[in-house]
């Protein structure tokens, strides 16, 4: 029996630590980064004042951590605001919607591998809450539930702009889920595994998917097959990253909450903490999306360049700290990727809705599908004869040209009919 309690305690510790002490604080932190980074881009200063108000305690100077306390002040403000529920809303759904956006985003945390493993008192523990064999699928399926929150918010608000926002969001998320799922098939073919920790371990040993510059702990150039696989991997990376932007409703695809057309989109009628929960859900989804990109394409927690095996042996007072170093490495990569998300938001203008749908259905869907065949051909090439590879390559080129031609032709006929 004590065994069970020990395991339960470990699991609960992991859940509390990763969800509430790692991912949730990343949300206000990325809001802070968003404000500071956008300020830098627009040649402003941004929030840099809020710190510890030592002058209140009678000291000479305030201590302002570059405004790092700003997110706490923002959060406090949202808590203290009046929580106003308009008369015309459908109450039950109106209350349910914010929770339905945050909860799925936080559930997906449980399959993300944050680090290798920490050993304590001879007990080795992986730094992942649930090490299940269907990591990416689990994230997709649970993340697809967050569409309910947004749709219900739009509908329950019982007013026009939120409803249009909700409908847009539903259509957008369903469309981009297809591109999202198809684009990582080449990656999963390459790894031959769906377990995210094993995928990262494989990358630590044999080089990251987009940077295969070492093998078994020594730096070396990739062999021909791995080098060729960089092409489908790069295409998959591009499609996947852009689809994550669309899936998390980030600029340039934030049409569900497009201010110029829809006031605030699906959260127009929300105030106070309910509004903040939509905000949190969106940023948490962004954090998880970045985590998934880092895990699949950029080596997850691995430091790379063959250093992981060396780090894995480090111990301080008998405690294996490799996991903590890897955790730090993972969070660094994650923050860099979040900064990339923010950079894109403040540089690229918003798409039109038809452009967004066309990009998803006409460009990404086909490109991801062709990419699957290309990746399969490259992976299978060592076992095939030259003639079959040649036929496959010719067929692939022919199909690609045909798809491009069809896309072009369908574009021509969609012109508005003259009145």
């Amino acid at each position: 029996m004590p065994e069970i309690f020990l395991n339960l305690a470990i699991i609960i510790t992991k859940i509390v630590f990763f969800t509430f002490l790692v991912v949730l604080p990343l949300v206000p932190l990325s809001v802070y980064f968003e404000r500071r980074f956008s300020a830098v881009i627009q040649d402003r200063v941004g929030p840099n004042r809020v710190g510890i108000p030592l002058t209140l305690l009678g000291m000479k100077k305030d201590f302002h951590f570059f405004g790092l306390v700003q997110p706490i002040a923002d959060g406090l403000k949202l808590f203290l605001k009046e929580d106003f529920t308009p008369e015309h809303v459908r109450k039950a759904f109106y209350w349910m919607a914010p929770a339905l956006t945050v909860v799925p985003a936080l559930i997906t945390v449980c399959v993300v591998p944050f680090g290798s493993s920490v050993s304590l008192f001879g007990h080795t523990e992986k730094l992942v809450i649930a090490d299940i064999d269907i990591g990416p699928l689990f994230i997709f399926s649970v993340a697809s539930l967050s569409v309910y929150g947004i749709t219900l918010a739009g509908w329950a608000s019982n007013s026009k702009f939120p409803f249009i926002g909700g409908v847009r969001s539903t259509a957008q998320m369903i469309s981009y889920e297809i591109a999202l799922g198809l684009s990582i098939i080449p990656v999963l073919l390459y790894y031959g595994d769906l377990n995210l920790s094993r995928i990262v371990q494989q990358q630590a040993d044999h080089g990251w998917l987009l940077l295969p510059l070492w093998k078994n702990g020594t730096l070396s150039l990739p062999d021909l097959n791995t080098a060729l696989f960089l092409i489908p991997a790069a295409i998959a990376f591009l499609i996947f990253t852009i689809s994550i932007f669309a899936e998390t409703n980030r600029m340039p695809f934030d049409l569900p909450e497009c201010e110029t057309e829809l006031v605030g989109g699906y959260h127009t009628e929300y105030s106070s903490m309910k509004f903040a929960m939509f905000f949190m859900g969106e940023y948490a989804a962004m954090v998880i999306g970045s985590a998934l990109i880092v895990t699949l394409f950029l080596g997850g927690w691995s430091i790379g360049f063959g250093l992981d095996a060396i780090v894995a042996k480090w111990e301080i007072f008998g405690v294996g700290i490799a996991g903590l170093i890897h955790l730090g490495c993972f969070l660094t990569k994650l923050l860099i990727f979040i900064l990339f998300f923010i950079l894109v938001r403040w540089t690229v203008p918003r798409f039109r809705y038809d452009q967004l749908m066309k990009l998803g259905w006409v460009v990404f869907f086909e490109a991801a599908l062709l990419n699957v065949f290309l990746a399969a051909l490259i992976i299978a090439a060592p076992q095939l004869t030259a003639a079959i590879i040649g036929i496959g390559a010719v067929l692939l080129v022919a199909i690609t040209l045909a798809v491009i031609w069809v896309a072009k032709v369908s574009d021509d006929t969609v012109r508005p009919i003259p009145a």
């Binding site: 399926s141 697809s144 569409v147 309910y148 909700g166 539903t170 259509a171 595994d193 009919i417």
Partner: protein, 187 residues
């Protein structure tokens, strides 16, 4: 004895199922179906079939039901809430339930119900003999894990390869058919 999680998810499923037919509001009914599907996925995961459970959520909850809700919201079914239920549909529904129960009892009473072997190391290692010795399935079975995704893939692409391809072609035809039918003729 089934685990407490079985009871949790089974209850969730049943409550969802009952709520579907008791709510007047179509959106509330649709949301109850979602709850029912989530419970079902939980039951699948309780049986160690993670893949089936997750696909259940991905396909039915994440895509099909979203479309349902989408359509219900767009149609704005106000009449549906006012409608009084008639006796004939209720009787027919009850009749179906009775028929299904009879069938279930019939099937269960005839089929043998041996104790399923526990998914421990020995059972899994014994099953590894059916697969290629150096393959992924055998190695993870020997390591005491159940590679359910690989097993389903193996089954589909060896024993049911032809039906799988036929279904693929069928879906493709259906997709193209929908595009052709829904596209307005250009003037």
């Amino acid at each position: 004895m089934p685990s407490p999680l079985f009871w949790l998810f089974a209850t969730l499923m049943l409550i969802g199922g009952i709520a579907v037919i008791s709510f007047r509001n179509p959106v509330a009914s649709a949301m109850s179906v979602v709850a029912c599907f989530v419970g079902l996925a939980g039951l699948f995961i309780g049986l160690s079939t993670f893949f089936v459970g997750v696909i259940q959520i991905l396909v039915y909850t994440g895509a099909v039901m979203v479309l349902f809700i989408f359509i219900i919201m767009l149609l704005d079914l106000k009449n549906e809430e006012k409608r009084n239920s008639k006796y004939a549909p209720i009787a027919a529904g009850l009749g179906l339930v009775v028929l299904f129960t009879v069938q279930l009892v019939g099937v269960l009473s005839k089929s043998p119900n041996p104790e399923a072997p526990p998914l421990d190391r020995a059972t899994l290692a014994a099953a590894a003999g059916d697969y290629l010795t150096d393959g992924k399935i055998a190695s993870s079975l020997n390591a005491g894990q159940l590679p359910d995704v690989h097993l389903i893939g193996h089954m589909l692409f060896t024993q049911y390869n032809f039906p799988l391809q036929i279904i693929g072609v069928l879906l493709l035809v259906a997709t193209i058919g929908v595009v052709v039918l829904s596209k307005k003729p250009a003037e």
